[in-house]
Structure formats: C-alpha cells, structure tokens
C-alpha cells in the first residue's frame, strides 16, 4: 500500500503533477480580477468563493492521468494477480492524489488570498475549508477517473461527471466562509461520504474494465 502511494506520488511528480494544478489554480485566481475589475471591496467579498472554484478546477486537471494509463499498461492486472483488491488500490490512489495536489494548493491559496486582497480571517476559513474539503475532491477525482478510463473524449466527460458531484463541496466550502460552523460540519460530512464511497465505486469500475 505504501509502495503504491509512493509510486503514484513519484508519477505525479514526474508528470509535473504538483506544478500544473498549482499554476492553473493561481492563474484562475489572477484572471478573476481582470474579469470583474480591480474593486478591492468586491474582490475581498467574492475572493473566497473564487479560491474554492479554482481549487475545484485544479483538482479536476489530472483526472485523465489517474487511472486510465495504469489500466492500459496492465498495472491493475499485475496488482490483481498479486491479490490486491481494486478498492484498496483506489484508496491508495486517492491518498496519493490528495498528497500531490492538496498541500501545494493550500500553500498557493495563501498567495491567491494576497492577490485577491482577502482578509486574514477569511483566509483562515478558506484554508480550514480546503483541508476538510480537498479529500472529498481527491476521492471524486479518482472515482471519476476510474469511471471514464478507456473512453473516448474522456477529458470532457470527466468534467461533466465530476463537477455536478462536486457542487455540495463547493456550496458548503463557500458557505463556511461566512464563519458558519454548520457549513463546515456539512462540508466534513460530504467529504467523508465521498472518501468512504469512492474507493468502492472506483474499485468496481476498475474491475469491470479489467474483464
């Protein structure tokens, strides 16, 4: 299990996986002020939401790479022969994906908050929300990746499949910015459901793809 996680992290690193989502995330955060105008008050008000939307898109970025290439290369066959359950493999992939994008993203969020002129209190809430919500995003990304593996036009399909399912995370994540403890709890609940369910969904999809 540890070896699988280490392998996935190495692949993510080799594929520029840590730089790309972070650069993408910061780019989205930079683009927003151009779109809505350099109004400091307005930016400070919507900034937290912008960070959340950008985080969602950044998590979606490597979705095509998570499962498809391994399925094609026969890696899952070899793991299956060695007695690994696909749900376990998916769980390892989730953890590796989370490790490869969430911590860099949370660091980048500090920069984005500076660019958007977010107050420190809001930044704190954004970071707390990201900490709770990103495992759910990682779970969703792996499950989506497993479902679309081997399909044509997988990239476009990934967005259509994953973004609607990520709406609850976005709603409660952005809702927690106002300081509502209830929203944070709901965010945690949604994240937990996704983390608990995704390995089985992804594992089942991987098994079907193997047959």
């Amino acid at each position: 299990m540890v070896r699988l996680i280490a392998r996935d992290l190495r692949l993510a690193w080799a594929g520029g996986g840590m730089v790309n989502p972070v650069a993408f995330f910061l780019l989205v955060a930079i683009l927003f002020p151009f779109a809505v105008g350099p109004d400091t008050v307005l930016l400070a008000r919507i900034g937290g939401g912008v960070i959340w939307a950008a985080a969602l898109l950044a998590a979606l970025l490597p979705v095509e790479r998570l499962i498809g290439p391994d399925a094609e290369a026969g890696v899952f066959d070899q793991l299956g022969v060695r007695g690994f359950s696909m749900a376990g493999v998916a769980a390892a992939k989730m953890l590796a994906h989370w490790l490869s994008f969430a911590p860099p993203l949370m660091l980048a969020a500090v920069v984005a908050a500076g660019l958007l002129g977010l107050p420190a209190v809001t930044l704190g809430r954004v970071e707390l929300g990201l900490l709770i919500g990103t495992p759910g995003l990682a779970a969703l990304a792996v499950a989506t990746s497993a479902l679309i593996a081997g399909m044509r036009g997988a990239g476009a399909l990934a967005g259509l499949l994953m973004l609607p399912l990520a709406v609850p995370l976005l709603i409660f994540g952005a809702g927690a910015l106002d300081g509502g403890a209830g929203a944070l709890k709901l965010l945690g609940a949604v994240s937990l459901v996704l983390v608990a369910g995704a390995p089985f969904v992804a594992g089942a999809a991987m098994r079907v793809a193997m047959e």
Binding site: L11, A73, G74, Q78, G80, V81, R82, E211
Partner: protein, 196 residues
C-alpha cells in the same frame, strides 16, 4: 486458505469462459502438477488470453471452478513505468511480490533474460522485444509456482525464444507449473496441449 501440505497444482474443473456474451470454451477440464506445462493453442480470438486471465483469477469463469496457486502473469501489456530505469521498474514489482532479496533476484532475472546491460536504461527507450523480455524477467524474479505466459514469443527473436524455452524448462525442473498461450511454436518437452 491455501493448503500448504499439498504441492501446488493448477486445476480447471469444468470451466466455461464467456467474454462479451460469447461462449469461448465450455466444460474445460485439466490438471497440471508440479513440473507440468501446458500449451494453450487456438486461432486468434479463441479465448487463449481469457483462459489465462481466468487461471490468474482476473476473470471469473462463467461456470466451473479453478484451483490455482500464486501465479505470475506475463500479459500483452508490460506494466512497467516508462520513466523508470528497467531495474527500478522491476524492483517495484519484486518488492510487491515480497520475495527475499528482491534486488538480487531482479539482477539475476535480468541476467537470465539477457537484459543485464540494459538495467539502467529507462523503460521508454526499450524496444518491443526488450520490453517482452523485461515482462518475462518480472515473472522469473517472482517466486510464483505458476507461470502464466500469454503469447510470450511475440516480438522475440530466435535467440530470445530459445532463452524463454530454457527458462520455462528450468522453472519446471524446480517443480514449477507453466501455462503458455501461443500461436507460434514454442518447444516445451512433454507439455500437454489445450486446444481451443
């Protein structure tokens, strides 16, 4: 749980293989004891690969039952990370196999398959035949009593096919079992033939 008192054996008990709703073979029965080998032959699409995947436990038989010891599978896809050196890529799998002294076993397997000089070359630079030999080296490095080789001679030159035959013979001499799906001639003395 595996029964450790009995020697490992591969047994198909009336196995029916279905793929995509199409029946490939039905009521297949055979048993391979230690030292035995079988060639699975048949035209393209006859179900050779499916039979091997059923033996590997990757595909459930539509009917019947399979008894199989731990196995090593050489399939069409190499499953070696293209960015890594050949040695590191093989060591990853040897570590998952939990064999004793994985580094030495990988080095031995590379020597046995004639890839020792390529150990530090990234997998993406290997030719098709070299990749096939690398997949064979992974099987050699494992300690699995059952070898499942799917078209192992594909992409191999004559010398490499001879090496493959020698390695299978060595494996059988140690009490191993080999199930080889092929449409070309591979010399396995005394091997049974499962014609699909």
């Amino acid at each position: 749980m595996a029964d450790h008192d009995q020697p490992p054996r591969l047994a198909f008990h009336g196995v029916t293989g279905v793929r995509g709703g199409r029946r490939l073979f039905a009521g297949l029965r055979f048993t391979l004891a230690p030292g035995d080998a079988a060639l699975v032959t048949g035209p393209n699409g006859a179900g050779k690969s499916s039979l091997l995947r059923i033996a590997a436990g990757l595909l459930a038989p539509a009917e019947g039952r399979v008894e199989a010891p731990p196995c090593a599978l050489m399939a069409e896809a190499a499953a070696l990370d293209s960015g890594q050196t050949l040695e590191d890529a093989l060591r990853f799998w040897a570590a998952l196999d939990a064999v004793p002294e994985p580094a030495r076993r990988v080095a031995d397997a590379l020597t046995a398959t004639g890839l020792a000089t390529l150990a530090q070359v990234p997998v993406r630079l290997l030719s098709t035949g070299q990749r096939r030999r690398a997949a064979l080296a992974r099987v050699v490095a494992s300690e699995a009593p059952l070898w499942l080789l799917d078209e192992p001679a594909n992409g191999l030159d004559a010398a490499s096919v001879a090496t493959l035959e020698a390695l299978v013979a060595e494996h059988r001499a140690r009490g191993g079992i080999a199930l080889v799906a092929t449409h070309t001639d591979i010399a396995l003395p005394g091997a049974r033939v499962v014609a699909l």
